[in-house]
């Protein structure tokens, strides 16, 4: 069975696009082959900075023949009919037709037309150019002379050559599949490493292709390049008694920047180690795409780094290491300058007085100055939601209000909120936005803030996703909740809610964050509606209760997703949260249903209970009762059975099962209510489980009638079939 080898050789493809492009190439080509009935045994795609390659093994030489039968006229039919048949079937003489006999209809002609399947090579010559012309690059470009015309070829960077061979593996030499795409003619030639082996290499099939490339200092497989980098980096680190700090994202990127990875170790002066380790790492990673190392004894960043070059240099990498070291030092000098500047006083402090007063800031402290500057600059958070300064004021007020509910010191919560965004105008965060929060914490610690306040400056952004750590210091909790609630309320008030896949302000993440914080800290006094309605009240033209209800709904939606991941069914969450809200009016004690931590634990308990035998039976019993009541309500009118049962009537006229059920309910109800009041949801479920025998007995022996208020009894016309649940 022949194989296909395809290589698209271009100028440097962005590292972040390579893996997906290789997969897209594989999918598009194999899908198109399969669509033509050309099935294959296996396919693999590869990418290096300068090429996408695809190998498809075990293709047929050509597609399956198609055999078609075309019915013709009876034997002895008029000549006109025979001629028409010959023409339609493409036969030159009636002798070429077959005669079939049918006992009823007699003999008639049949033409058997055999169409040979398409040559696979021909199919490839059609498919590959089409795939190239419509390739789904995230960003593509035009180039060269051809770009003067409107519809020239687009590729991620200029495409230089196409290698395409097809043929049986061992027996014969594969042949070039001939085609042309915008002047690029397919062939069997590739090129090796840009500097080591730039000359042409003639290729037959995958085996010699991979081997020739390897000889020409190109490792075709990205995963192998990653392995080489990882192994060499670990070994170099180990030899120096250091730990290699792994970084999968960076490794993937670096493997996409080299065809021939050569791992080297560089160093910088120890004095730079004064800079926070995270900032050193951010600098070296973002600007230099180098890895940092750690001293295993202290856990601190070491003054060494790992760089991956694309060259086996003739001096063993001395010049490359020296060059990279220079750049790293220059970058670290910048970082050291930022680190120093951010801790010093700002010029023009006088101009920040108003802002400082408004926000209750102490202009003697560097971080307070930065917050004043942020306010003074009028940096806009969102056009309709005002400036960062205004936002910080709102968050500070809300954090203070939330503090007693979450067990935090209100002063500390407010102070932390006022400093939470203060690192945004620092030099360090300006350069490395990913360090926001973290730098704020460092600067807060340095100016002697309370430990909880400093921690909250960093942690208020958390959790950043489903697996990020949830803050648990009460001050952090208060500020984190205030930050997220303010964001959600703001975007709800201006009606910019997430739609479909569009969530530019990460509002779903904020809502999930609220759920996780409430749950993991068991915030059983945080009643969402009580918090949200007054916040919406401050917005003109917003119907506060409706907006609050809508936002709670959105948050509960995230909660459902969170609980689903824990294996709790969405209808259980609905039963606890939504149904609970509806019934709240009837059962004043149920106000808790808007407390996330309580919803979670109730849902947990309910979910577990419903999985037990008791739970299943109780649910079945409930459904039966509910369905019967629904039917009866149709006759008696809605709400006819809303009131509590008439125990006197049951005592006087009830059957033994009815009496037993009434007793069981009378005993279980206060128990369950007491458990709910004590937030013991397991206990409440256990109390409900106790009524199961009574419920079962009632339904199993139920006479076909319902006992109604003010009457003795009457047969239920609905009968069993209709009333059963």
């Amino acid at each position: 069975m022949p194989d296909l080898l395809l290589e698209l050789f271009s100028e440097e493809i962005p590292a972040r696009m390579q893996r997906k492009a290789a997969e897209d190439l594989k999918k598009l080509v194999t899908d198109a082959l399969v669509e033509r009935g050309l099935v294959y045994e296996g396919a693999r795609a590869f990418a290096t900075p300068r090429r996408l390659a695809l190998h498809i093994a075990g293709l047929p030489v050509r597609g399956r023949d198609v055999r078609e039968e075309r019915k013709g006229p009876r034997v002895g039919a008029p000549d006109a009919a025979v001629q028409g048949f010959l023409k339609a079937a493409g036969l030159s003489s009636i002798d070429q037709a077959t005669i079939v006999s049918d006992p009823k209809k007699g003999d008639s002609y049949v033409a058997i037309i055999e169409k040979p399947g398409q040559e696979t090579a021909a199919a490839i010559a059609e498919i590959v150019p089409a795939v190239i012309r419509s390739f789904p690059w995230p960003k593509s470009m035009r180039w060269g002379k051809a770009s003067a015309a409107g519809a020239s070829l687009r590729w991620v960077r200029p495409l230089h050559s196409i290698l395409c061979t097809f043929g049986a593996a061992e027996t014969e030499d594969p042949e070039v599949v001939p085609f042309e795409v915008d002047g690029i003619v397919s062939g069997n030639v590739t090129h090796g490493h840009r500097f080591h082996e730039p000359g042409p290499i003639t290729v037959k099939r995958l085996e010699d292709y991979v081997a020739s490339l390897e000889k020409a200092k190109v490792v075709l497989d990205a995963d192998r390049r990653k392995e080489i980098i990882l192994t060499d980096a670990r070994n170099l680190a180990f030899a120096q008694g250091l730990d290699f700090v792994e970084d999968e994202g960076l490794l993937e990127e670096v493997a996409g920047l080299v065809e021939w990875p050569v791992v080297l170790m560089g160093s910088f002066e120890e004095r730079f180690l004064d800079i926070p380790g995270e900032a050193i790492r951010a600098t070296i990673r973002a600007n230099q795409k180098c890895f940092v190392l750690r001293d295993p004894a202290t856990g601190n960043i070491a003054n060494r780094f790992i760089l991956v070059s694309n060259l086996a240099a003739s001096d063993g990498g001395v010049a490359i290491t020296a060059g990279n070291g220079r750049v790293v030092r220059a970058r670290l000098s910048d970082a050291a300058y930022f680190w120093q500047t951010d801790r010093g006083a700002l010029p023009d402090l006088d101009t920040f007085k108003d802002s400082a007063e408004k926000l209750g800031l102490d202009l003697a402290k560097p971080l307070d100055q930065r917050m004043a500057k942020l306010d003074k600059l009028g940096v806009v958070f969102h056009a309709k939601l005002g400036t960062q300064g205004e936002r910080v004021q709102r968050i500070a007020a809300l954090a203070r209000e939330l503090a007693p509910i979450v067990g935090a010191d209100p002063e500390k919560a407010e102070r932390a909120a006022r400093l939470a965004k203060a690192d945004l105008p620092t030099e360090m965060v300006g350069e490395f936005p990913e360090l926001q929060g973290l730098m704020g914490r460092k600067y807060a610690e340095l100016q002697g803030e309370d430990a909880s306040v400093a921690a909250a400056v960093e942690e208020h952004y958390k959790p950043l996703g489903p697996s990020d750590r949830v803050p648990n210091d009460p001050v952090s909790v208060a500020v984190a909740l205030a930050d997220k609630l303010d964001t959600l309320v703001g975007f709800w008030a201006i009606d910019e809610k997430p739609t479909g896949s569009k969530d530019p302000y990460a509002l779903r993440r904020a809502a999930l964050g609220i759920c996780r914080i409430c749950d993991e800290n068991n915030l059983n006094r945080l009643q969402l509606e009580q918090i949200l309605t007054p916040l919406f009240d401050k917005w003109p033209n917003v119907d506060a209760p409706i907006a609050a209800f809508d936002l709670i709904d959105f948050i509960l939606e995230r909660l459902k997703v969170m609980l689903r991941d824990r294996g709790i069914a969405h209808d259980v969450v609905d039963a606890v949260a939504r149904q609970g809200i509806r019934r709240e009016a009837m059962m004043p004690g149920m106000a808790n249903v808007r407390v996330i931590s309580i919803i979670v634990r109730t849902a947990d308990a309910l979910g577990r209970f419903l999985d037990t035998e008791d739970g299943k039976n109780l649910l079945a019993g409930y459904k039966r009762a509910a369905n019967i009541l629904k039917v009866e309500e149709k006759k008696d009118g809605e709400g006819a059975f809303a009131e509590a049962p008439d125990l006197h009537l049951i005592a006087e006229a009830g059957l033994i099962e009815e009496k037993a059920l009434a007793v069981a309910l009378a005993q279980a109800t206060p128990k369950a209510q007491a458990s709910v009041a004590a937030e013991d949801y397991e206990g409440a479920m256990a109390a409900l489980a106790e009524i199961r025998p009574a419920v079962d007995a009632f339904f199993d022996n139920r006479p076909h009638r319902l006992l109604r208020r003010g009457q003795r009894w009457k047969p239920s016309p609905g009968g069993r079939g209709q009333g059963e649940g």
């Binding site: 900075p49 060269g144 230099q288 240099a313 490359i320 750049v327 910048d334 009028g378 806009v380």
Partner: protein, 300 residues
């Protein structure tokens, strides 16, 4: 002139290299611009169908980047060496690497890399795809295939190379600070450094840019340049042709630089910033559209 011994040697070597490859060697544009791309030799000439090859040094003014001469790597005035080839030749990468070899970079010793960098200049309404070119981890050039300039699709596409001369020279001369660069290649008493030539200017302009530029006058200057650009574009209209694109474009450049000065003075808020950029872009787009109605822009 050894490109590894003097700043001017580097500059002359690059000029000679590209002159020998058919480029018109232009001189710096005589106006304050933020980058070599703003030179009409790139900005206007990259529009329209006419082939064009040019190379030149362009002093680049970035008022915000001034550090009073105290930061070894940040200047408010520095040099870019700019090459523009329209349409881009198919071997532009090879030509670029040859130019690196010409200035003394040995490819057997140094790690040259093309790292994704999608270039965009919002005030010029221009963007392209290309790379930062790295030498041993240091960005030494920008390499861009222009896709759009002044909001107009490039047909054909130009290849643009921008060499950061000071940084490249630091590397070649093996010095840590731009101020230490040997400018004239001589030693001893006759040696002139970058510091001798530019330190005082960095200090003076940093003061001006950050502290003393008259912001009221700058706001007026911006408005005046904007108005004049529009007026010239209107008065230059002559049916199918346009007769005053370049004077109009000068006013667009003036508005752009004035905006940069205002930005450095910190008197433009984040929201306003965007609207100023848009205003300059509108001027650039109008100039680009008018250029296509001139002989240089390929109008018949």
């Amino acid at each position: 002139m050894d490109p590894t011994r003097s700043f001017q040697g580097l500059l002359l070597t690059l000029q000679r290299f590209w002159a020998e490859r058919g480029c018109v060697v232009l001189q710096p544009y005589d106006m304050e611009v933020g980058a070599g791309t703003s030179h009409p030799g790139t900005m206007l000439r990259s529009l329209g169908p006419k082939p064009w090859r040019a190379a030149y040094v362009q002093p680049s003014r970035r008022p915000k980047d001034g550090r009073y001469g105290e930061n070894p790597n940040r200047l408010q005035h520095y040099y870019q060496f700019q090459v523009i080839l329209k349409p881009n030749p198919p071997n532009l990468q090879e030509l670029y690497l040859q130019s690196l070899a010409a200035i003394g970079i040995d490819m057997a010793l140094h790690d040259i890399r093309f790292v994704e960098d999608d270039w965009e200049n919002p005030t010029l309404g221009a963007w392209g795809l290309g790379w930062e070119c790295w030498c041993d981890g240091m960005e030494v050039s920008q390499f861009t295939y222009f896709q759009q300039v002044a909001g107009i699709e490039c047909a054909p596409v130009s290849g643009e190379l921008t060499y950061g001369l000071e940084r490249l020279a630091c590397y070649l001369q093996n010095v840590e600070s731009i101020m230490e660069l040997n400018f004239n290649g001589l030693e001893g008493d006759e040696k002139v450094t970058y510091r001798d030539v530019f330190l005082q200017a960095e200090q003076e302009y940093s003061r001006y840019n950050f502290e003393y530029a008259d912001t009221d006058a700058l706001f007026r200057r911006f408005a005046a340049a904007e108005a004049e650009c529009r007026a010239l574009l209107q008065k230059g209209e002559a049916g199918e042709r346009h007769l005053m694109v370049q004077p109009a474009y000068d006013q667009c450049l003036k508005a752009g630089h004035t905006f940069n000065l205002l930005d450095a003075r910190g008197v433009i808020s984040v929201t306003e910033r965007q609207s100023y950029i848009l205003r300059v872009r509108e001027l650039a787009k109008a100039c680009g559209a008018a250029w296509l109605k001139t002989a240089g822009g390929g109008a018949n």
